[in-house]
Symmetry: C2
Subunit: 322 residues, 2 copies
């Protein structure tokens, strides 16, 4: 059995490579972080709970990846550059067989973005993973939810719905062939945070959010906080490779309401159309124009021909669901 201090030393302590920004890492009462002069700090916390955000027997390496990915996705949605994170971990037992792949999955993703683990906490308890992440951005440059403007195009990065499709397969709501199941599961378990895109969209996009709870609800936050509405072409929504093989009704519903994709939904003035495409190219991810911001409040849906569509809208609420 590992002690708490062994556990931290063995799996979560590394000498910081960013000595300039990380003045003091794991091992004191606090970590010390030196933001670049004049920069604001972007901060986000996410808590992932077993049975709620992941299955009890989830692959530990993928889980480590995903826990950090969803936090990096919050920085991406702000356009911030990742700096560092803290990890607080409640574990039923301290087992090497779990901690080794979990920490490797997490720290491999951290390394990809130069995002240092600078502190945290470990305790015994029902499995709970709480990450707080820090990025930096110049004052005024953040992609805020309340900054959409009438006439903005609405864009989506990558594809939507495959993570929801995997969940449907796990729940036995439908059956997938092995290739589709693998494709969809990978989207669910190893999401790619759109960090490079978020950074490339500074000065181009007006508003942004990451699609974690489902596009209809997440875009809804932009609309509410900007005091505006939108029309969305549901058939223009880019669907994942596995979902693309499903019937139209499922494609529409999962693309519109499915969560866990961690793509960016952002608004940008139509005059910036080619700048958006250039930013996406530089970030190595496709973007698709799916609608327009309007003065009239509420979310209106159309099909590819522009005819109004009625589809149930659902946004995920942790306390409303059974």
């Amino acid at each position: 059995m590992l002690s708490e201090f062994d556990l931290i030393a063995r799996y979560f302590t590394r000498s910081p490579r960013e000595a300039g920004r990380i003045a003091l890492g794991v091992g004191d009462d606090c970590a010390l972080l030196s933001p670049s002069p004049g920069m604001q700090l972007a901060i986000s916390s996410d808590m992932l709970v077993e049975g709620r955000h992941f299955f009890a027997h989830a692959d530990a390496r993928k889980l480590g990846h995903k826990c950090l990915a969803v936090n990096l996705s919050d920085l991406a949605a702000m356009g911030a550059t990742p700096l560092a994170f803290t990890l607080a971990l409640a574990l039923p037992q301290a087992r090497d067989e779990w901690l080794e792949p979990f920490s490797q999955g997490m720290l491999a993703l951290a390394d990809r973005y130069g995002c240092e683990l600078i502190g945290g906490d470990t305790t015994k308890g029902p499995l709970n993973i709480c990450i707080t992440i820090f990025g930096e951005i110049a004052p005024g440059a953040a992609l805020r939810r309340d900054r959409a403007q009438v006439g903005d195009d609405i864009w989506i990065s990558g594809t939507l719905g495959d993570a929801r499709l995997a969940l449907a397969a796990y729940r036995k709501e439908l059956e997938l062939d092995p290739v589709a199941l693998e494709t969809a599961s990978e989207r669910m378990h190893r999401p790619t945070p759109r960090v490079e895109l978020g950074i490339a969209l500074r000065g181009i996009a007006h508003a942004a959010i990451d699609v974690s709870d489902g596009l209809s609800g997440d875009l809804g936050h932009i609309l509410e906080q900007s005091g505006l509405g939108a029309t969305l072409d549901v058939d223009a929504l880019p669907v994942g490779a596995a979902l693309a093989q499903q019937p139209q009704d499922l494609k529409r519903r999962f693309a519109l309401n499915g969560g866990d994709d961690y793509e960016l939904c952002f608004s940008a003035p139509s005059a910036k159309h080619s700048a958006v495409l250039a930013a996406a190219r530089s970030a190595g991810i496709a973007v698709t124009r799916v609608g327009v911001i309007e003065a009239e409040q509420g979310l209106r849906l159309t099909d590819a021909g522009g005819a109004p569509l009625q589809l149930p809208l659902s946004s995920f609420d942790h306390f409303a669901s059974p």
Copy 2:
């Protein structure tokens, strides 16, 4: 039943009063914090789990206070000025009867130190409270664990052991009269972070830590990280008002090994003796000199007469205990 968004809006959203430092609070993908020019950010995360750090039926108001207090105590042990915090909360249910006192207890303490709640997460799950706190301090001014020097006096703020005494009473290891139980319980449930003292000790103390797991283990961290040892006069340890009425053996053991007091243990050169006393006076808390830092590694204990004492040393380990 409250929705997740209602819950956040009702209990945890307030307009920031520190508009200069908090550029964006609760409600976006990230909060935006503007540290003062040239300052380092001190960051700490603590996770509190039901059944581990508090009892299932803990008073919600006191629990809200304590969760933030233990984080403020980490800033205090660094000498940092509190700025802001995030709160991630897993709850079995979203109940007003719990959330209202919990948030009031937490935010009343936050207000006392001008420490703003700037974001977080709520989810359904076994009760788990994870706070990440941010303070600021000038580069080089932090009271680090690895900075003790040979010849430093070792000091303790306030008193030790009453929180451990309350735990013993709850566990029926002993009986307390009602007044002693009330005194001891208050120390356990409503610890006072020594924020003002930590700030006042900048430039005076060499090393500091807060006593959360027990003095012997916590001082041990200073000694290990500084590569030094110490002799501690066990009978000089300031014991709490309730513990003071107990037999000598219990006084010694609980003062030395009892956790949850959240006093500061710090080292300072003997030439700064009067500066330490002046800092404590300005912070409104007593401090007691209890030992000396030495080159020889390890922790040596003596009684009031200077004779060597053998007492069991225990440091709290979340994964070693049953």
